[in-house]
Symmetry: C2
Subunit: 112 residues, 2 copies
């Protein structure tokens, strides 16, 4: 079991802002998982990994693919109150779910 | 309602690693909150802010203070599998809880 967050690296996100967006994706994807997925992941120590992708288009494509695989997933759109314009897609959360299933979607991506 | 994560800025954390630690603090503090706190916070859009403090000692002091104020809180110790030594304190989550209550503990800290 693991959880993956994918960050849109085309955006000029300061460290703190980036971390907040990743946390947002993490909680929202967690809440969209089944109770069984949540419990298994919590019991294994909540492993999570942050990856990167080059663009908003790449993120939305990954999101569609995660949905097609029936994985818990959540796409974060920024509220636009600070450095970004409203609705900018910053980050995607996938899981908690079985690692092999998640790797089918994110296996080619690099660590942030 | 809000949630605060405080990062130990003495550590040489790469962006992705930092974001994963903040997400860990966020979920763990969320799970230690009451059901009422969780629901109120989710309904207000899960506002979260990332702050910084200068050392591990400062983080543990903030953690004790949050506990003394009966705030939901969680101190993240790194598992030591990558860049840090095992048990290094990286990050503190406080809340979701009432903003005024959290500010009594973290009101003096700066944004990361």
């Amino acid at each position: 079991m693991k959880q993956i967050m994918v960050v849109n690296e085309a955006l000029p996100l300061p460290r703190g802002k980036l971390a907040a967006q990743v946390a947002h994706a993490s909680i929202a994807a967690f809440l969209s998982a089944t109770n069984e997925q949540r419990q298994e992941w919590l019991q294994s120590g909540m492993p999570k990994i942050v990856l990167k992708c080059p663009s908003e288009e790449a993120l939305t494509a990954l999101h569609r693919e995660a949905e097609a695989q029936s994985l818990p997933t959540y796409l974060v759109r920024d509220a636009g109150r600070t450095v970004l314009s409203e609705g900018t897609i910053t980050c995607l959360g996938i899981g908690p779910a079985d690692s092999t299933e998640i790797d089918k979607v994110t296996g080619e991506l690099k660590l942030l």
